[in-house]
């Protein structure tokens, strides 16, 4: 067995062009590298598609240098579109974590637990549907702990347009709080079951 420290995580974020999928991947990678001082790579699907087309970002996180930066079997799959879900769900590891926006994705044909958040609706309520990716990042950070809270929050601040720092931080926090609440709910349920 290798030491506990050498944890490698393969993450796919998928959705439509225009949802900020690649930006979410970039923020995550920068948080990991510049904030947590670990290794990360980002490969973005790159094609002629513009707004509305299929889009994905592949992020690797590791303590060791990353040799092969392409995701083969994701540990974490974040889906913000049905087509993205359909494309990648087969590749997700059996013990992997699935995260979806349940207003946009129906997780059909699987028998596994998953985490969901209505991040697009929440971003709309905050006044900007464009911030759905930031809400999702907050949720992701709470659920997976793949990146530290402080690093993720700082990376969001570094990456968003000037003048929108406050609203984006609010979006991130909203997603993060939602994530913590979901985890707490699950814990309660689990202990409840064990006690019964």
């Amino acid at each position: 067995m290798t030491e506990q420290k050498d944890i490698k995580q393969e993450i796919v974020i998928t959705g439509f062009g225009g949802q900020g999928i690649v930006l979410a991947g970039r923020i995550l990678g920068e948080a990991v590298v510049l904030g947590d001082h670990r290794q990360s790579t980002l490969v973005q699907s790159y094609g002629p598609e513009a707004r509305g087309g299929a889009c994905s970002a592949e992020v690797m996180i590791s303590d060791e240098p990353i040799q092969y930066p392409y995701v083969r079997h994701p540990d974490i799959l974040i889906c913000m579109s049905q087509s993205g879900y359909d494309k990648f769900i087969e590749q997700l590891k059996p013990e992997g974590t699935l995260i979806i926006d349940h207003d946009l994705v129906k997780p059909r044909g699987i028998d596994r637990t998953f985490f969901s958040i209505p991040c697009t609706r929440m971003a709309e309520e905050l006044g900007r549907v464009m911030m759905a990716n930031i809400v999702m990042l907050g949720f992701f950070t709470a659920i997976t702990k793949a990146v530290s809270l402080e690093s993720a929050r700082n990376a969001v601040l570094e990456s968003v347009p000037k003048g929108t720092e406050e609203t984006n931080t609010a979006a991130f926090n909203k997603g993060h709080d939602y994530g913590l609440a979901v985890l707490k709910g699950r814990e309660k349920k689990a202990t409840g079951k064990a006690g019964a």
Binding site: Q39, T41, V43, Q44, Y46, G47, P48, I66, Q67, Y68
Partner: protein, 370 residues
Amino acid sequence: MTGDVACAEGGLAAGCLFFGGYPITPATEVAERMSERLPEIGGTFIQMEDEIAAMASIVGASCAGVKSMTATSGPGFSLMMENIGLAICTETPCVVANVQRAGPSTGLPTQGAQADMMQARWGSHGHYEIIALAPSSPQEIFYQTITAFNLSEKYRLPVLVMTDEMIGHLSERVIIPDAKDIKTVSRTRPKGRKDRFKPYRPGPDGIAPMAIAGEGYNIHMTGLTHDERGYPVMTVEAQYEMMDRIMKKVRQNLDDIIETEGYRLDDAEIVIVSYGVSSRTCLAAVDEARELGIKAGFLKLITVWPFPEDLIHRLAERVKGFVTVEINLGQIHLEVERCTAGKAPAFLVGHPGGTIIPPERVIDLLKEAF
């Protein structure tokens, strides 16, 4: 940062002050970065009308004494070939980055390949020597672009940075050292009487000192075969003399130019040869092969041209075979096969382009062939 941005930063770190380009996917971000950065440091960025002119502009800028570069992809690289030949013949230092995409022709503009490797070697007409490097990460693009400038200044020839869409668009950590820790080389300048200067008379190292056009030295530059004065001379003897110089400055300095890297190569029975983005496939494949008990090692070509002929030849004496991994259907594979001289079999894991090669394909071939 992405590989494309790191390429631009490497150029700047090497002292590049002129970028002449024409935008093309997936190399546009190199030009984009240069267009932002060069004006900040007193350099010049110019978008020319096409790649033929872009290449001409960097040859001209270099003759005027400024380190210059351009960046392009397959279709633009084809257009640049004529003036790359001019830079070879006039012995003008400059750097061309080719962020390779899948061809032929327009091909898959947004998807990568490594299929311009032979074009890099032989794409311009006539016989010549060239230097081409192949980075496998954004950090390597940064350093290799600096190396490309240093070699081009030292040996007075165009140097090619043969990267690919995957590395160009890969975001990864890039550490940029302090300027004082970066070694840069500039062309040797002439001394002595300006009216007696012969622009192509080689120095003791076989390379002619280069004067800046306009500083007073006699200069004549032409793509015609020329003598030491740079004047056209249409004789076989002049051709012999000129060719001898442009060939020897590379052939007699192979040890200085060629750079390779080995990974688990010391006890390897099978040598996997690769370069650029495919190196990353091979690093993963070697580890997986070793776990299966296959004694594989990896030879990474940092310099692809000139090709490390002697190294392959020597390895062929002791190993069971070679596997070349590249995103084309057999280019560097042909070189490996040639250099083994029949002493060990050479196999190819190739791909027509558009995506990277997964390590599984290398493992499958290793199991099947050895």
